[in-house]
Amino acid sequence: MSGTALPVRPRRAKGAGLGLVAWLAGIVFFLPIAWMALTSFHSEEDAATNPPSFSAALTLDGYREFFGTGGGASPWPALANSTVASLASTLLVLLLALPAAYALSIRPVRKWTDVLFFFLSTKMLPVVAGLLPIYLFAKNTGTLDNIWLLVVLYTSMNLPIAVWMMQSFLSEVPVAVIEAAQIDGAKLPTILARVVAPIALPGIAATALICFIFSWNELLFARVLTGVVAETAPVFLTGFITSQGLFLAKVCAASLVISLPVLAAGFAAQDKLVQGLSLGAVK
């Protein structure tokens, strides 16, 4: 590998140049977020200047406004609703997907690939395909503006992704190890806890994080099916669609606070993010 020293120099210079380009691209893509963060700490007057004020005094007024201490609606109920909807649906997804993935990998049913592709095909059915009947159903059963309806819908939205991801994680558990444990007389719960779980746990955690992100982000169902009581954080944000005088700092603070859980979950799941987003097709 280290034999010829001849072409090393020019390549290194070129490599450094391209590294610089990569840095530049990263900064350009991140700039809107950095600007959003900076603006959220400016006063409304400093947030709305042209040319932009980069070095204006920092203040927490935008956050105070957002959290409702300056009048206006408090975001806490919406944040609480989003938390309930995302956590409960993620939990439900795991409860349903884990056994399903087990039956599709470790002890596969006949035609297990067909079943796997059925799950995938439901993900390709657009949300608007069932929106109206779901709305009518909710209206007739009195579950409109009820957070648990969103929990059920978010579960159906994420279940195919979770089944695919977990199927691919559980397939990584070597059959030989399971067989060895069985020959040693281990029962199924012991095998699941001692053999399968340690290998599959990081994957299960990443699956949970990705389901959490999709639930937290969802707008269309929440917008149509919730109102005053069960409003979620993205629906709360839609209140900022029309301009309300000087409100940029408040918008930035709101957007940042509501995006924080997703940013945190996304960076925590970074390594498995591709696998989840590509439904397990890419590792």
Partner: protein, 312 residues
Amino acid sequence: MTATTTAPLGTATVPTRKPPSGRLRSWATRAPLLPALVFMVAVTQLPFVATLVISFFDWNSLYPDARSFTGLGNYSEVLTDADLRKSVWTTILLTVAVVLASLVLGLLLALLLDRRFKGRGLVRTLLIAPFLVVPVAAALLWKHVLYNPEYGLLNGLLHYVGGPQPDWISSTPLLAVEASLVWQWTPFMMLILLAGLQSRDHQQIEAAKVDGASEWQIFRHLTLPHLRRYLELGALLGSIYIVQNFDAVFTITSGGLGTANLPYTVYQSFYQAHENGLASAAGVLVVIGSIIIATFALRVVSSLFREEVSRA
């Protein structure tokens, strides 16, 4: 049936991954699968069947008594209505533009990130971040903080170079929506393509280098063919998500200025205009469009999947 119980002892000691024999056992294998399967059929398939049925009715929920069967009437209305036809066209335009632009940008970024340089991990993190902003928040960020004609960042930066001060959203509404979506979806494409680049056969590339192949030749004849299916996968998955996009259109233009796509139109026609039948017909059309894309998507996923299984 009784064969299983009287099976010789020797076979009973190696029970794993044996094809299930006997009705009871095969149900025991299936049982863990059933809750998820039943749940999915109930929550996703049944509502769609209902949509399909409603799409054949003339039904405005403000006049519930005037509900009547119209056959394909709603479909011909959707397809002949100028606004609705325009929203079909907008959906196609929006999806194709966003997918292509983010795919090309994602490829360039993936190629940059595939090399070793100082701070590669950090740059990767910076590049992923746009994808991890809540879509409504991202749309608000573009609408108010970047595009605002008076004090938005874009015009603020243009101010420094003495450039024009356009009103981005009113002058180029669709482009404004597309740019914000490209910003969010480029990281997605980049991640998929980066995974593709990293699964290349490095020995083959080393061999090509030893044989004197130029970087362009290696890219053209080795990297690109290998990436083809990852490009397809990115394009198809991206299309599936972007065809359904509602958040950006709803937030940035509220469907105005000719940016209403089909999901927005479906939302509007039953949520605001209470036209249940029309909304359902438009919904069914979105599904047909998605099925066309999805057929290709499923084929790509299944070929990648089979490769993974055979490699394992």
